[in-house]
Point group: C2
Amino acid sequence: MKELKDRIRRDGIVKAGNVLKVDSFLNHQMDIKLFEAIGREFKRRFADAEVNKILTIEASGIGIACVVAQSFDVPVVFAKKTQTKNIAGEVYTTKVESFTHGRIYDIIVSKKFLGKGDKVLLIDDFLANGKALEGLVQLVEDSGAELVGAGIVIEKGFQVGGDALRFKGIRIESLAIVDSMDEETGTIVFRGDEQDEQ
Amino acid sequence: MKELKDRIRRDGIVKAGNVLKVDSFLNHQMDIKLFEAIGREFKRRFADAEVNKILTIEASGIGIACVVAQSFDVPVVFAKKTQTKNIAGEVYTTKVESFTHGRIYDIIVSKKFLGKGDKVLLIDDFLANGKALEGLVQLVEDSGAELVGAGIVIEKGFQVGGDALRFKGIRIESLAIVDSMDEETGTIVFRGDEQDEQ
């Protein structure tokens, strides 16, 4: 998606340790017009799938998922990272390892909101090692819902998550795949950069 | 807002301890069409204010804020509940006490995304004891931005938060104010129920 890649090149900041900061428009401050364009692009790519629910994970996935949901005209469910008092006892749950925070946490979805008959599109802002997305896939499988695929805004193509999930047969549509980044020069190389693309 | 109150009456569940569960449409599964109507109503109420930024807090405020932002055509910033590696060092921060989780946590916003010249509308799903909203007000004050007011989806009118913040002179627009709830009968009394209202 050219508009997204241009925006990442313009406003993204490459930091040490292969960190790509896009907090000015994606996951701290959020450019809702860009989210709308992202929604239209996911709808174009998943036009053949009869998605009837979007599943994401708190926190930074939620905003994108809600705007993307407008293009699909479906509700959103977000997986919560810890059990709170206000959640029903009956939940699907699995464990996710976070490399960013160096810990393992539980994610949960109420059984009321995911189950047979649901055709689920996963939406998230980043795909790197893939642990969060694997957790969401597990919740969908446990619920008996059908997994349509995953729409990712930015995939770090040099990390294993995307390929591992594709190898399992999961359809992943990433709008920008970063193949390499250079902290010194700030250069970001996207997959497909060598081609003429829209 | 009649559509919202009707929805709360239909799908909200009153639980022991004055808990109102609205997780089927507001803060776990999210009805995006309802969020759009909520956005139009906040825009109507804050039509006179030249809002140029919406500030919310993770997690359940984010989805509502992003859809509401479409009615105002402004970006959203969400305050994060813990400092992560991916946040710049330069942040505004304050402490918030959570009664739900029985702990105190830090909330932070990058200084890059809030400051002089910003006219900020706060958006959140619930207002009860008001601690989270107080924290957001503090961040706006610390940043030098102008606080326009707060748009709240559901206020628990029998808790002190709303009145305490109004007493400080903060403009609070709550789309549904619950004055009392009955766990036995499931009855919910909204402020203004005795009037004919739209």
